[in-house]
Amino acid sequence: MNAIDPNLVQILAAVLFTLGLAVAATRRNIFFLLMGVELMLNAVNLSFVGFARTFAGQGSLLGHLSPLFIIAIAAAAACVGLAMVICIVRNRDSLDSDAYAEMKE
């Protein structure tokens, strides 16, 4: 079985994270914003697993476990986030994140 170059794994993770960030920062649709956040979380998961493979040893178990927790918590966070989005949308009839600008004042 061919070992994958660990650098490639980390580069892929970085690319995914940047994509997620770009989505979150540029799209105005709230659903895209949530998707961007999920993408960033999974990029971090990938990075964890990649490092766990690269530095195999006693501590590497943590690298395998953390993504499991992150997935569970991200699922919960997504639930809450979607629920909030639905509430907001019902309130405003808009998916545009720029419409919610009252927090400033």
Partner: protein, 660 residues
């Protein structure tokens, strides 16, 4: 063990019962049963009086004081702690006998005077509380216990002056008495601290310890040191507050706003004499500071003269008596100042009788005239109120010093002691004699205006004129009689008749010997012409009294010129308010100015400025930051990204520079 604790506890019980009754019946229109309240309130001081008589009999028979009784541990002071202790020596016996005796009579009188008042139970409760406090004051075996009573009587004085609290003037008078007394109380406390420091930190402030210390060599060595002088001066300040001497005098005339029995009990017979009691109790300390003793004489003299002159121009019958009290207290302080503690106490004793008589008699007059206090609406009352008139006649006879009245005995002894106290004393003697003359004039003026001049009572009041009821007339008559015979316990003109002096000798002789040896370096060369001097002084006193009476007869026989009361004007109005104006100018105004500076400059300008400035800065920074905070989510994300990049770059900088 003789139950000394019963003496203060009995009136305290009366206070508790009547106080609870008064509180419990607050909702009812009529209040609790008058009969029960009256019986209980009068019985308690009377039982105290009986216990006091028993204790006095005990020390009469055994010839020595009842040892101090320590009731419970109280303060961690001295070697073995200071207990809440009571002591009953000859001085206590003297004070307690007339406090509880006259107190009981005045309670009885109050039953008649205050019967119709809605607050009857409350009034009797306060009077009982006053009795308990006053008893603790004189029965305490140490300065702290006395201070407890000292504060207690001040509180009761405040409560009773402002008893008719619906009237704002009464509340003002009560507050004034309270505040001025507080100044004196501060002096008492600081003086006690000084004394404690002087005696060393092992001292306990028990009177027995104070006497032993200051009669011993260690204490005598402290004579005239600044610490002792400060202690004496501060304690004397306390006494001027409680006993209404210059400069803390003005509260006493205003205190006449209270019901008349209060004026008789608290502001004439008992509380105001507690200053003299304290000076006598601490006589061993005071004789070690001749400067303060001189100051006491001078202040007493000035106060006596001030009170007498002020008494001349009053129209309110109670105000005349109030200024007369001030003046008589001045006499007592004069005597204390020349080291004649026993004579001062003798005057306290006789004054308690005749001044209580005069006040209660005035109360009967006011009662009969439906609360009329202005002497311009009185006159010719001798026939309508024969019992009151004859009682007040006894009181008048005693206070102006006509021969064989009690005031004659004590006042002449004061004059005599002043005369033998060196050149200063002889100067004071002349002023005291002038004051005695003025006393005779203003007291005779009162008698002329109230009893001897043609009647100016309005017709509708005259129809209802009545002699005081029995419960009021009887105590006044008893006191009037007592003010005639109370002087028989010490007759200065006859050598053997000095039971009073002998009685107090064990308590006061040590201090008085110190003063006497200062005046006369050789005790053997005591004035051998004592007898003839006494006769000359007595002649002077009687001349002053008779002359004052004659002058008053010439001036006031026909009654006041205008019968309709007009507001005081000219000298009469400004004289007695002069002191208030001086206080206003010297103390109140500067304090107000200071308060203004603190409020406006320090508080509003400085403190508020700094605090507001801090708030402004935070607000300003917040405003600036808020402009950076874009509300759009995308921008926020982008900004936080920039922040993360910046932080990461900063953290990586050392690594990168090393790599480079």
């Amino acid at each position: 063990m003789y139950p000394l604790w019963l003496i203060p506890v009995l009136p305290l019980l009366g206070f508790a019962v009547n106080g609870l009754l008064s509180l419990g019946s607050a909702g009812s229109r009529r209040g609790p049963s008058r009969g029960f309240v009256a019986a209980f309130a009068v019985a308690m001081p009377f039982l105290s009086f009986l216990v006091t008589v028993g204790a006095t009999a005990l020390i009469w028979n055994s010839g020595q004081a009842i040892p101090a009784q320590r009731l419970w541990e109280w303060l961690p002071l001295g070697v073995d702690g200071l207990a809440f202790g009571l002591q009953f020596d000859r001085l206590t016996a003297l004070m307690l006998l007339f406090i509880t005796g006259i107190g009981t009579l005045i309670h009885l009188y109050s039953v008649g005077y205050m019967r119709e008042d809605r607050g009857f139970a409350r009034f009797m409760a306060y009077l009982n509380l006053f009795m308990a406090s006053m008893i603790i004051l004189v029965l305490g075996d140490s300065l702290p216990v006395t201070f407890l009573g000292w504060e207690g009587v001040g509180l009761c004085s405040y409560l009773l002056i402002g008893f008719w609290h619906q009237d704002h003037a009464n509340n003002d008078a009560a507050r004034k008495a309270f505040v001025i007394n507080r100044i004196g109380d501060l002096g008492f406390l600081l003086g006690a601290f000084c004394l404690w420091v002087a005696m060393g930190s092992e001292a306990s402030l028990r009177y027995s310890d104070i006497a032993v210390f200051f009669q011993g060599d260690a204490g005598r060595a402290l004579a005239g040191t600044p610490l002792i002088v400060a202690a004496c001066a501060l304690i004397f300040l306390g006494c001027t507050g409680k006993s209404a001497q210059l400069p803390l005098v003005t509260w006493l005339p205003d205190a006449m706003a209270g019901p008349t029995p209060v004026s008789a009990l608290i502001h004439a017979a008992t509380m105001v004499t507690s200053g003299i009691y304290l000076l006598a109790r601490l006589s061993d300390v005071f004789v070690l500071s001749p400067q303060v003793m001189t100051a006491i004489t001078l202040i007493g003299c000035a106060t006596a003269l001030y009170g007498a002159i002020a008494g001349m121009v009053q129209w309110d019958i109670k105000k005349v008596l109030a200024y007369s009290t001030v003046s008589q207290l001045g006499f007592m302080f004069m005597a204390v100042g020349v080291g004649a503690f026993d004579v001062a106490l003798y005057h306290v004793f006789t004054h308690a009788f005749f001044k209580a008589t005069l006040f209660l008699g005035a109360g009967s007059v006011i009662h009969a005239l439906h609360h009329e206090q202005d002497m311009r609406r009185m006159g010719g009352l001798a026939k309508a109120m024969p019992v009151t008139y004859s009682s007040m006649w006894f009181g008048w006879f005693a206070i102006i010093g006509l021969p064989l009245g009690s005031g004659f005995m004590s006042k002449d002894l004061i004059l005599e002691r002043l005369w033998v106290a060196g050149p200063l004393g002889q100067g004071i003697f002349l002023i005291a004699l002038l004051t005695a003359l003025l006393t005779a004039i203003y007291m005779s003026r009162l008698m002329y205006y109230v009893f001897w001049s043609p009647s100016r009572v309005p017709a509708e009041t005259r129809a209802h004129l009545h002699e005081a009821p029995f419960v009021m007339a009887a105590p006044v008559l008893v006191l009037g009689f007592a003010s005639m015979v109370a002087g028989s316990v010490w007759f200065g003109l006859i050598e053997r008749l000095n039971g009073f002096e002998v009685w107090l000798k064990p308590v006061l002789s040590a201090a008085q010997n110190v003063v006497a040896s200062a005046h006369l370096p050789d005790p053997a060369a005591a004035p051998h012409d004592h007898g003839s001097l006494a006769w000359v002084v007595a002649l002077c006193g009687v001349t002053a009294a008779v002359l004052g009476w004659i002058i008053a007869r010439l001036l006031f026989k026909r009654g006041p010129k205008q019968s309709e009361p007009a507001p005081l004007a000219g000298f009469a109005a400004t004289w007695t308010n002069g002191l208030d104006r001086i206080y206003d100018l010297l103390i109140v105004r500067p304090l107000q100015a200071l308060a203004w500076v603190v409020a406006r400059v320090i508080d509003q300008a400085l403190l508020t400025g700094v605090l507001k400035g801090i708030g402004e800065i935070a607000g300003f920074l917040g405003e600036g930051y808020a402009t950076c905070q874009r509300s759009r989510l995308r921008v926020s994300v982008a900004l936080s990204l920039i922040g993360v990049v910046a932080v990461t770059a900063y953290l990586l900088m050392p690594v990168l520079s090393k790599a480079a």
